[in-house]
Subunit: 139 residues, 6 copies
């Protein structure tokens, strides 16, 4: 059967701060600039999850996208939306709250559950602003 | 000569229904939910066709994108736009009207005509809503 | 207290056909062209509802936008989404399924319920494609 | 001379929390739900400032939009961008950090400086998400 | 009959230069900065034309939007698209090529033809970039 | 360390003309149509630069995106923005001003400087209109 790639967008609004606690405040300011502001800032994050798989001839679907959407909401969005990425999110504990680290952590949360329903996880993309985004393909 | 990828977007507005006639209505409802509603629903579909080829040093083009646009309109858009995907479209006859199947069928319509003008077809992407899309690369 | 205007976007995907049953098929085709195709077509409709009111000093809100969103979903979106505007929607029965008529009918569904929660309905806007939209202000 | 309306978009990324300190935590949760989360959340805010004035026949401009952009950046964006609206912004001190209150406060910051350069302030619009925005016209 | 507002978007890609020939090059540079560069620059302009009228009970339309689209294309887009606004466009001759002046000139081209088909011209809006636009309402 | 892809968007507004000076005017018109208009036309170009690299565990970044943004602005945007691609841009001298050639030339300007800061250049994408774009991956 042919292989297709399906992408689902979900959104979350969260606060964060770029900060490495093993560095001094001055070093943090040098590296992260205004993104290290101690009282936090925030974004409307767009999360794009791309899965990959053979098309099921019975349904015409790679998989039911509603199930993928539910998985993403339960495992990722509920933990991030209207939350503080540095303080509130179990899978970001002890990590610098960069978009790169966030993409990798979300990949970690989603990989097994998505594979369990028989499709592959191809890409996690996070768009932070209209000018910046990160993609992670599992490598 | 360097190889570049060129993408052209075309749009069509169509009705469809997700339905496998070999299943019962109840099974269809379980699999497709509101997308199986018998009186149809519809979308503004965005179709993105990506071609690939060497840049022609005489023109600076991989190929004249107007020709690609004309091909897509004649072979695909004219058959889908302001139509019912399940009832009106020859290349979707007998197929479940999922976005996956639509992407693969459009690939089938475009591959030879695009290769005939000397470039490769790289990707057919169909965006059904701002939250969902499908990509097919011919595998 | 100052007066502000608040807009909420909701979305629905529906099929429709432009057709006046008191005209001949030929007249319908002349007026509506491909939009009168008998097997339906469809759109991703964006609905924008703008309300107007004084800001409540206790909440900082004109009104709780969650309540507005719920009203729109219950009274309008549930009836239109993944439906056929001509066949399935009680408040469009007997009307030509144009975007103009749809905007006025949605205004009719929302005006009293929104005024009941103490704010004014200012505008109903429906965007049918990226190139076309209709606004109705109640006049 | 003809009168035109000119709109300039500027952007800021900020954290905030909806909270009325004169209410109990339980009351805040009832009114604001997840928007009252104590560890903050955030948004990519889009600010649209519309000015109004006669076109200057010497320049063809209502006014030089670069000057308007500079004013908005100095008086508003620098104070909000990568900041916490509740904690860091002088013109929001003691106010509930709702989008409505933010629009009115920004109007207050901009009205005199914009009128000083000889044009009128027509509208301050703040878009918080793709689904929600507030407009204030000074009434 | 109820009154609705209908907006049609059309697009054109054009070159221009902001320059007042009655001023010195130095004065032009002071006023227009990089927009006065002698070798031109250009934009993807989005033109939004809003008409206003009673809904025709026979058609459900304020007016057939295809006719409006044709008028805009024939009278405005054909003259501007892939052209130089300063050099090629009859209705801009002798005028500074600002967005304000362009909006007023387009209003002048469209007002009578649109009124001839029995509807009112409400607004001409030109979006020059994602951050800047001009609206003209005929005053 | 995991490898991520980071994309930065920058924008420029420029005039150009598609024209091969070794061909006759008639041949140019046949190949390029309205894009060969002698008085130029223009676009709002969106430039997307994607870099690739391991995530630095000290910063959580592949690299500081501010540095990438500065590089792109200094080496590319300053030379193109509010300029004429055919006449003003050193790295386009003697080349046909097609989007393909522009993407390859920008790749040439950015490759070494980006590699010098220790990351790889993965893709240069230029979007000319909402319907057309070109991607170059260095092959």
């Amino acid at each position: 059967m042919p292989i297709a790639y399906i992408t689902r967008r979900e959104r979350f609004n969260a606060a964060h701060r770029l900060y490495n606690k093993e560095l001094t405040d001055e070093e943090n300011l040098t590296i992260y600039g205004k993104c290290s502001h101690p009282n936090w800032h925030g974004h409307n994050f767009d999360l794009f999850v791309t899965i990959k798989g053979e098309i099921d001839s019975k349904t015409g679907f790679v998989t039911n996208l509603n199930n993928i959407s539910k998985l993403i909401k339960e495992l990722v969005i509920e933990k991030l939306d209207h939350r503080n990425i540095n303080l509130d999110v179990d899978f970001m504990r002890g990590k610098i709250a960069s978009t790169e680290n966030l993409a990798i952590a979300i990949w970690g949360e989603l990989k097994n559950p998505i594979e369990t329903i028989g499709v592959g996880l191809h890409c996690v993309k996070i768009q932070e602003t209209e000018n910046n985004w990160v993609e992670y393909f599992g490598d």
